[in-house]
Symmetry: C2
Subunit: 351 residues, 2 copies
DNA sequence: GAGTGTGGCTGAAGCGCTTCAGACCGTCCA
DNA sequence: TGGACGGTCTGAAGCGCTTCAGCCACACTC
């Protein structure tokens, strides 16, 4: 039983009686041959069950692969489980949609980003890096391959397109709004300053040595208004549970804070819960503010006052930059997106 | 200025003074050469800035690409925006994580799935199809390429691995629980029966001709208990907004239903809102039941009674099947996962 | 000393496609 | 009539890698 080999360009060319180049042209440059011939080629291809030029071989010959890569800080699964990341990806995806490019998710390990070997195998024409530490080995791997790169938020690298957000300004804005309402005793709940799984009060050393710009900026924005000595609790991840624990810890101070500044909405949701746990009310007893404005913020109980960072816009813009680089464009100046305060019902004057 | 070409295997081979095959072996089969030589090769490679074998060329030669493809019904962005889909992908991703495979998201158009051309360009060793209509052209494209495929939920195809869920049983279970509570007047809110953007009451023709098995099964499960003549509203997408509109329409009947059976949690969230809009209470005035048990169901107001389908498990299992096919395994028998009813506070006896 | 391994390395044949410099031919213009 | 030209199609040189059959030298075994 001689199993028929999968048809290739040559098979088709042979069957039609033309050169391989012509068949290739039939697929890629219809203007290079007569319509009639092209028609004949396509028909033969169909009858032979030829699925069109093999993507890998085509990529090898053309040196591009119609795919944009996305390097994750964490495992693949974070892309779908982390609300803020999902929205960024959604934005990116919506830009890339319509260009018939696939999106290749490159899994990372912990907060350190992808292994260089993984990057080395990923097939993409351009890669987007999101919130990786400056020293991530994956970055070097991308450069070594000579792929263009666009960076979101972090890290700051020469010769890459970049889009970032005014985290400091946003945090400052949030804290100021609380200050203006009359709050003077604050607590801050932040996510990781270091990729070491630490949960607990933030020490000055941990703060100043953080490799995560976003964390640093948000914290500085909060502390700039609230005061550098504001009790601050670090959570290893941006999760509701850890936020709840952190807020609980902060609320045990005497006198307890009247406002909780959270580095993310997810942490803020936990804080909301912690306040309820104590039998207190938001915002009557304690104000809570978040950061990101994920969709759930609007449906929280009470609806969460938060800093809206244009997550989708960030992704969309990164997508545009990626597409531009794909077409040989230059990185250009970094884009900085504005943030705004979304006032809902989790903040009010103290007492 | 003669810009140095990017180094290749040959460059390294030349520099070390060995054959190209040996350098290749240094990367892929360390046991084929002496440790000392391998060492020397790696050092030279590093000093030359050689990033390792080019993934595309390697894929061409080996015919595999260390990537699993995922065909979406909709645009890329649905992967991140649709809660249930996200969880499935999360499950899939968590299986694939640790195998150093990338996940290639293949964008679809509307409910029809990816364009065949897009599939033809995607570089993956195996592709997972999720909830595509039976006649999606993308499926043919995958087969034409001879790629192994695993199908989630739909469609039913010969010679593919498959994982599915007992949608009928789940829906029946949900409806029965309401029946047992004493409900006799139902309304059903479903998502699309046809990929034509229709919103409105379901006609028997639309129902019987649907190409979406999942929709069909859930509906049949509901109607089996509630009665075939139960008022049923079709929403073009599974969105909160459309669910709200649909529920509002159903609630305008006289006498109005005492229980709303929704084909998804997202629709149920809309229904909850619709009931509130009318100044009525859930579950005192109207019971609402969902399907999927997405995380938000637990935090809905009130917490939503719903059918839990093991979304993550579905994804995880699909991932395992994909990995098995990747290693040359046979598809095997379809796996059917069980569902269960999660009783929360959105259901109660009528009145 | 002939036979048998065996670890270490190489030559060359692909993998399936794109692309570029022509070849060929009929047209058109002067 | 001749030359320039545009439209079609082809030959052949890659793209960068893997892999398999072997070759060689050396160590063993009987």
């Amino acid at each position: 039983m001689d199993r028929p080999r999968k048809p290739t360009l040559d098979t088709v060319a042979g069957a039609v009686g033309v050169s391989r180049a012509t068949v290739s042209n039939a697929y890629n440059r219809p203007d290079q041959l007569s319509a009639a011939l092209r028609e004949r080629i396509m028909e033969t291809a169909a009858s032979l069950g030829y699925p069109g030029p093999d993507p890998v071989a085509r990529s090898l010959a053309t040196r591009h692969s119609a795919a944009v890569g996305f390097m994750l800080g964490q495992g693949l699964s974070a892309s779908f489980a982390d609300a803020a990341l999902s929205i960024v990806l959604d934005g990116l995806a919506s830009t890339v949609d319509g260009h018939d490019h696939c999106l290749v998710l490159i899994p990372g390990r912990d907060k350190g980003g992808p292994r260089p070997e993984t990057v080395a195998r990923a097939q993409a024409d351009v890669v987007v890096a999101y919130s990786l530490p400056d020293d991530a080995p994956a970055l070097a791997a991308v450069r070594a391959r000579g792929l263009p790169m666009v960076v979101i938020d972090q890290p700051v690298l020469p010769d890459t397109a970049r889009v970032e957000v005014d985290d400091f300004g946003g945090a400052r804005l949030a804290a100021s709004s609380l200050w203006d309402l009359g709050h003077r005793r604050f607590g801050v709940v932040t996510f990781a300053l270091h990729p070491d799984g630490h949960n607990g009060p933030v020490t000055p050393e941990r703060l100043t040595s953080t490799p995560f710009r976003v964390t640093w900026d948000r914290l500085q924005g909060y502390l700039d208004v609230a005061g550098a000595d504001t009790p601050t609790w670090e959570c290893a991840r941006s999760s509701r549970e850890l936020g709840r624990a952190g807020a609980r810890a902060l609320m045990s101070a005497e006198p307890r804070p009247t406002a909780l500044l959270c580095a993310s909405d997810e942490l803020a949701f936990g804080a909301l819960q912690a306040v309820r746990d104590l039998g207190l009310r938001v915002p009557a007893d304690v104000s809570v503010i978040g950061f990101d404005d994920v969709p759930a913020a609007e449906h929280a109980d009470p609806p969460l006052t938060t800093v809206r960072q244009p997550l989708a816009e960030k992704g969309r813009h990164a997508g545009e930059l990626a597409l531009r680089l794909l077409n040989g464009g230059r990185p250009g100046e970094p884009t900085r997106l504005a943030v705004s305060l979304v006032s809902r019902d989790s903040t009010a004057p103290p007492e």
